[in-house]
């Protein structure tokens, strides 16, 4: 049955080719800001060649998702298959299991005392206090029993004691106060379509959010920058279509694209692409479905949650 369909399709080839030619010229005119370009692009990659037929090399983790700094020498990493790991920056190949979560953890954050885990299954941000290898579950956000969010990513401003959560259900960034009460929703009125991840810049009080956009209505993938009060400051678009985890310093924004398998560096003020790091694949140093990035300024390197390869990949920053 299926084989039959395919054959019919290939008979239509000539007809389609004609359509493509007219389509090419047509779509160029209206492609402007759309991700729906006339040519299906393969990205230029620096320093390594993409693999033709990659094989998946499953690391110790099944589905690494998001990362957050945990002290000076470690970070925490969520694995969607139900675990939180602690990863030493000097030994990223050997993550240590810290917590088992009942459900699918997505976002993760650390507020100095508690680990915050975005549990997709329970629809809550769960707080865990860690003491002598024992985790005690504290109150969750949202606090009402029936309240459900899809906590795709979490960040905490420790001095202001504000918690920012990307909610995939409402398509906004929810801001909670120190008591876990909802104080603000950012981007919920069309400024964000399908937000995925976020990063805070406490010095400038900025929230940097990645967004898949919405192909159905011609909205491209983007980086959106807001201030803490939810005022929209800036949009950055570029050669990416599935922006996931993001890391921002004052001047630069580092972003991983899940399809490209690359870390892209953008200049905050101009939106210019400053560097392209890594490439798609499964061999050492290649990325397959990267979900998050952490930049390590002293070593000038990135830690990447390399989802399909089930590992943390370390990449040097290539200055261009």
């Amino acid at each position: 049955m299926h084989k039959m369909k395919t054959r019919v399709k290939s008979h239509l080839f000539l007809l389609l080719l004609v359509a493509a030619v007219s389509c090419l010229s047509e779509s160029q005119a209206w492609s402007g800001g759309l991700s729906w370009g006339p040519v299906i692009e393969e990205p230029a990659t620096e320093g390594c060649t993409p693999e033709d037929s990659p094989l998946i090399v499953q690391g110790p983790m099944k589905s690494p998702m998001r990362m957050v700094e945990y002290g000076d020498n470690s970070f925490l990493l969520s694995d969607r298959s139900g675990s939180i790991y602690e990863v030493k920056k000097n030994d990223p190949a050997h993550p240590v299991l810290l917590l088992r979560i009942d459900g699918n953890p997505l976002g993760i954050a650390f507020d100095g005392r508690n680990v915050l885990v975005g549990n997709e299954t329970s629809g809550k941000v769960e707080r865990y206090a860690l003491r002598r290898n024992r985790a005690t579950k504290r109150s969750s956000i949202p606090r009402s029993k029936s309240g459900r969010i899809q906590p795709l990513d979490i960040a905490v401003d420790r001095t202001k004691r504000m918690t920012f959560v990307v909610d995939g259900i409402d398509g906004d960034v929810k801001v909670y106060d120190r008591r876990g009460r909802l104080s603000l929703s950012i981007g919920g009125f069309g400024q964000l379509s399908q937000p995925q991840a976020l990063s805070l810049n406490p010095d400038t009080e900025e929230v940097v959010v990645t967004d898949y956009g919405d192909q159905r209505i011609g909205v491209s993938a983007s980086i959106q920058i807001f201030d803490y009060s939810g005022r929209h400051l800036k949009t950055i678009q570029g050669a990416f279509s599935r922006p996931q985890g993001v890391w921002s310093t004052g001047g630069s924004i580092y972003l991983v694209d899940a399809m490209l398998g690359q870390v892209l560096e953008f200049e905050r003020d101009t939106g210019a692409l400053l560097s392209t790091n890594g490439c798609y694949g499964s061999s050492d140093g290649h990325l397959m479905l990267p979900m998050d990035v952490l930049y390590d300024p002293p070593m000038k390197q990135f830690f990447v949650a390399d989802n399909r390869n089930g590992r943390v990949t370390v990449l040097p920053l290539i200055e261009q």
Partner: protein, 191 residues
């Protein structure tokens, strides 16, 4: 190389045609998807799309979390160490475009293939039926069927339940196999 370029052009043409005239849209896709979700994506070129692993990356770029509320997925590996290593990817169970007809002449749900090719163990092409998720209406569903053609049986030769010959299949009959507490898709059906 030539073949790749050709297939790239076919895809491009079809996608453009669909976008301009909407001819393909009605019957070629499930309602949750659009051509541009998978074609015209940076890094998802025609040639790479023909490779199962890059298709998995493409699917997972969206289904790594539940979009809306239900659609989180993961590849099927055998969680326990008791079975030979195995990793079944999206297009081994799903058609990327549409719901396929099964051997009974009915469309399967959720784009599940009508014929699943089972490679390990080497069983070859096997009819898979998945058109009914609801047990309560007529005391039957297609996760598990009396003869073994249910979607959660067709490949299983070594499990203690849900075997493809229809024996030992009445494990929790009537319950939905894929709920969060049992074998959720978001954990690769493993738990």
């Amino acid at each position: 190389m030539m073949i790749r370029t050709l297939s790239k052009m076919t895809i491009l043409a079809a996608v453009c045609l669909a976008s301009v005239t909407f001819v393909c849209e009605a019957d070629a896709l499930i309602s949750g998807h659009e051509c541009a979700y998978c074609h015209s994506v940076m890094g998802a070129s025609g040639s790479t799309l023909l490779n199962d692993i890059s298709v998995e990356v493409l699917c997972m770029s969206c289904h790594v979390s539940a979009i809306g509320s239900t659609a989180a997925a993961e590849v099927h590996t055998n969680g326990g160490a008791s079975f030979p290593a195995n990793r079944i990817t999206c297009v081994e169970c799903h058609d990327p475009h549409d719901n396929q007809q099964n051997v009974n002449g009915v469309d399967n749900l959720n784009m599940v293939l009508g014929t699943i090719t089972v490679m390990s163990p080497t069983l070859g092409d096997i009819d898979a039926v998945f058109a009914d998720k609801d047990y309560s209406d007529d005391n039957s569903y297609d996760y598990s069927r009396p003869g073994g053609s249910g979607v959660c049986q067709v490949c299983h030769t070594q499990t203690s339940r849900q075997l493809n010959n229809g024996t030992a299949s009445n494990h929790k009959l009537g319950l939905t196999c894929t709920t969060a507490d049992c074998h959720p898709h978001s954990k690769g059906f493993d738990n």
